[in-house]
């Protein structure tokens, strides 16, 4: 970690994504944007997460999909939001009115 600039970034709602969270953010990104990966995740989340090389604590956080915990690990908040919404759109398509 660097100096004051890094501290300010840590306090921002949309903070710099730490390199340590790259795999986690990649998983959220692919849940959001990669339909084939999202289908594999919905079929077998554990296998899909292992495919991306996620460690056990990260996999546990994703299983619970708790926003605060994921963001605490360095997940980008928007990716958490939209990955969750895309999973819900797949699981409950009838819940959404289409315009």
């Amino acid at each position: 970690m660097a100096g004051d600039g890094a501290l300010m970034e840590a306090e921002a709602h949309y903070f710099f994504p730490p390199a340590s969270a790259f795999r986690l953010n990649e998983c959220l990104y692919r849940l959001k944007s990669d339909g084939a990966f999202r289908a594999r995740y919905l079929a077998d989340a554990e296998a899909a997460m292992i495919e991306l090389g996620l460690d056990a604590p990260t996999r546990a956080a994703l299983r619970g999909f708790d926003r605060d915990r994921l963001v605490g690990l360095g997940a980008h908040p928007y990716l958490v939001f939209m990955a969750g919404l895309r999973l819900r759109m797949e699981r409950e398509p009838e819940a959404f009115e289409r315009f």
Binding site: M8, E9, A12, H13, Y14, F15, F16, P17, F22, N25, E26, Y29, K32, S33, G35, R67, D68, V71, H76, P77, Y78, L79, V80, F81, M82, L85, R86, R88, M89, P93, A95, F96, E97, R98, F99
Partner: protein, 265 residues
């Protein structure tokens, strides 16, 4: 003919796919404002629509995060849930903006192969006239710090206007984003509507230039990181007074649709 119209609007996905958490009447009121934009775009008979939008980490992931960019492919395509879209790009205009922008000192990234984010698509879904008009997608990084400063976005908008003023096409400009919202954060249900209202008043007064003095920290604190797209547009429209077509605050989002009169310079 240069810039002939300018609009800014929200693009929240719940306007396209409404879950039960969203007030249907509110969503329809925003749609009505989009319909008014569509009517105006049709009447203007423009040759292209340049859309300034933030990328929701869709076209660009962490392998490359450009501050400002232009899509110069033949067609811009993407998907969002059940929606699949492919929009023709006005290639001569896209290339001119890219080349002219570089000449004017903006080190723009360009791409011919990107998934078009729904931030571009949602406004076009509701406002694209018939027959459809080709687009030019203009990227601004809004979600991955460090983002371009409001000052830089405003300057880019000024340069964009100068470029458009030298072109033969009749171009409409749409800024897609905002207003206050905090997706994925603990402030999601607590947007800063007071900031939005003060800002809308400033825009109605023709004081859009003041947005160039905002800081990135202020935008983050008020849920307005996406306002960078509007600030870019404000650089292009100068001191024109905004016309508010709607401002509909939902439980998580300040949904605004705004128009600016554009006169030849």
């Amino acid at each position: 003919m240069p810039l002939v119209a300018a609009f800014a609007c929200a693009h929240t996905p719940q306007l396209l796919l409404r879950p039960p958490t969203e007030d249907r009447a509110l969503v329809l009121r925003v749609h009505a404002a989009f319909t008014e934009v569509r009517r105006r775009l049709a009447a203007l008979a423009c040759d292209a629509i340049a859309v300034v939008a933030g990328d929701h980490i869709e076209g660009f992931f962490l392998d490359a995060v450009p501050a400002l960019g232009v899509f110069v492919g033949a067609e811009a395509s993407g998907e969002f849930g059940p929606y699949r879209y492919a929009l023709p790009v006005h290639e001569p205009l896209a290339r001119a903006i890219l080349t002219d922008g570089i000449e004017r000192g903006f080190d723009l990234v360009y791409s011919q192969s990107l998934r078009l984010d729904y931030a571009f698509y949602v406004p076009l879904h509701f406002t694209m006239p018939e027959p459809a008009v080709p687009i030019v997608p203009l990227y601004v990084n809004v979600y991955l710090p460090p983002q371009p400063t409001p000052r830089r976005c405003h300057a880019w908008g000024e340069a964009l206007r100068a470029c458009l003023d030298g072109r033969p096409e009749r171009v409409a400009l749409i800024a897609s984003g905002g207003m206050s919202h905090f997706p994925g954060t603990d402030r999601y249900a607590d947007p800063d509507f007071e900031f939005d209202r003060r800002l809308l008043q400033a825009l109605a007064d023709g004081r859009g230039r003041e947005t160039a003095r905002l800081t990135g920290e202020e935008l983050d604190k008020t849920g307005n990181v996406e306002l960078r797209t509007w600030i870019t547009l404000l650089g292009a429209v100068g001191d024109a007074r905004a016309e508010l077509l709607c401002y509909e605050p939902s439980w998580h989002h300040g949904n605004a649709v705004v128009a600016w009169p554009v006169t030849a310079r």
